[in-house]
Symmetry: C2
Subunit: 330 residues, 2 copies
């Protein structure tokens, strides 16, 4: 499996050099692997930090900027960042009003973010952690006790970032992120596994007629192997799984996300089916994102995230955001 890299060892460093060269709005510490806002931290503003294994780009570094994250800590591919690195990101985000950690529920991430939070408290930085676990596919998984954190992370980072930007206090920023998590469910389906550069071959094998139903963002197994089917049926399978867990009703936000190797023309086709299914069930899509927002390297497939909205969440979603990967309204 060919990869557009120099060597598996330099993938993260090279990507960070590229981000530094591409985005003057970011302060990229290539050596320590911290991506922060060049104009931060802002005194009196709650800081917002996330991180996790790399390979999910644009998550998280692509969401650092006005109205979203203050800093991100990218680990090795599919590997948690280390506590010192998360601590450095926390300090880079600290404006004296406390820092919220957005943590996807994987055992390594949870442990390392907790350790970093303790180190930060030693430095008199108050930290509030919100753990995302929106994946409706499975309880417990390869890297996770409990449910996995997936697509809702993007929504939580946008909405909590908007709250922090408008001056909300630490408890409020953490509360809206928690609300997004509680009001969101996700489900992913893979057609072809992604390839970790150091492994050099796809993470799992699927037959020409097979799909992985409920796949995780690191290629972890889902509920079952299923037969390849028209996108209409695959989207319906995902939405039925979500609906069984949290009824899809009222005003919703839908993230129709690509896993990295599926072209946009197919993602729009999938979104058409999601829209038809959701409207057919009496709910209303009032906000959406279609594209590659939380990926699994070059994996082919999609995930769908449904967030049940409130007026407050819509208002915060619509607030201006200026990051490499999400930009509007300013």
């Amino acid at each position: 499996m060919k990869k557009l890299i120099n060597s598996p060892d330099s993938v993260i460093t090279d990507a960070l050099r590229g981000m530094a060269a591409a985005h003057p709005s970011l302060n990229v510490d290539v050596e320590n692997r911290v991506i922060a806002r060049a104009d931060g931290p802002r005194q009196g503003k709650v800081g917002l930090v996330s991180g996790g294994g790399s390979g999910h780009e644009p998550l998280h570094g692509g969401y650092v900027g006005y109205g979203m994250l203050d800093a991100a800590a990218p680990g090795e591919v599919y590997t948690s960042p280390v506590p010192d690195q998360i601590l450095a990101a926390t300090k880079a985000a600290n404006g004296g009003a406390g820092v919220v950690h957005i943590v996807k529920n994987y055992t390594g991430d949870v442990l390392n973010f907790r350790m970093a939070a303790e180190l930060a408290e030693d430095d008199d930085i108050e930290v509030s952690s919100v753990v995302l676990n929106d994946d409706a596919a499975v309880e417990d998984s390869t890297f996770t006790a409990g449910r996995r954190g997936t697509g809702a992370t993007v929504v939580a980072e946008k909405i909590a970032g908007a709250a922090a930007e408008e001056g909300a206090d630490l408890a409020t920023v953490a509360r809206v992120a928690t609300e997004v998590n509680e009001r969101s469910r996700s489900f992913g389906i893979a057609l072809h596994a992604g390839t970790v550069p150091a492994a050099g071959k796809p993470g799992f094998e699927l037959g020409e007629n097979e799909v992985e139903l409920g796949v995780g963002i690191h290629g972890e197994p889902g509920r079952e192997r299923g037969q390849m089917a028209p996108v209409r049926d695959l989207v319906a399978y995902a939405l039925e799984a979500i609906h069984a867990d949290m009824p899809v009703s009222g005003d919703v936000l839908v993230l129709l996300n690509g896993q990295g190797g599926t072209p946009l023309i197919e993602l729009y086709g999938a979104f058409a089916e999601a829209a038809a299914w959701i409207e057919g069930h009496g709910a209303r899509i009032v906000r959406n994102l279609v594209g590659n927002y939380i990926t699994s390297l070059d994996q082919a497939g999609f995930s769908v995230t449904v967030t049940s909205l409130t007026d407050e969440l819509v208002r915060l979603w619509d607030a201006p955001v200026q990051t490499p990967a999400l930009r509007w309204g300013r």
Copy 2:
């Protein structure tokens, strides 16, 4: 090769239904395959229209909106739109001040846009056509007499769109698009071919150690098959080909583009190498885009486009744009 589709026959229709559902800012005529601004046409404004075969998303439909295209005509996958369809897009873009056609240099596109322009003139719509042929890789190709139009199309649509938005006349809008074309060169390298849905298998075969150097955006052959190499060397090969054709100097815009199947983490690594090469040659990257902007379905690989900037081009590049795929400054 699994595709996230209902059937090869419905790919374009399904994608257009998805775009219609996702983007209330667009007026998507699914049946006639025209994507136009919902708020258009604006009286007295020069219209800007493009189109071509589908499979290059977000090109062109994703660039319809404030400050960029007024309408787009998507053909079947890798197949030119028909004249009536281009005519309908032209009418949708017509505000009485003339319409500029942005045409990528492929024989079918050139013929069908020319025919549409003649039909439009019969309806008293003045049309000025700008043909893009920025690909430095080869003269003449599978679908093309002369050089192919590739990445510079994105730049031309942005810059001409900004000129039209600020009230420039027909000649001026056409002139800035022509300038972008003349001042731009592109070169693409594929690691793995994309799959046309109706074909069901990759468009060409590459060995595990091979790359296609100078590949076209429909998988057309490039200059030669080369050995797989570190991204540093592949990027240098592309930039040397560009530099030999048009010296890379002064202030430049660089589009480091993914072909659809290459993850963002790798594209940033490629951009790091492009930045190092260009700065090493004494030029300066003052604007950039890194991501999937003109794709070839799920093809793995990248292309690089270098545009030599002028003060006018920088100003128009920086002007506000609000489209599904490109958004800033407003």
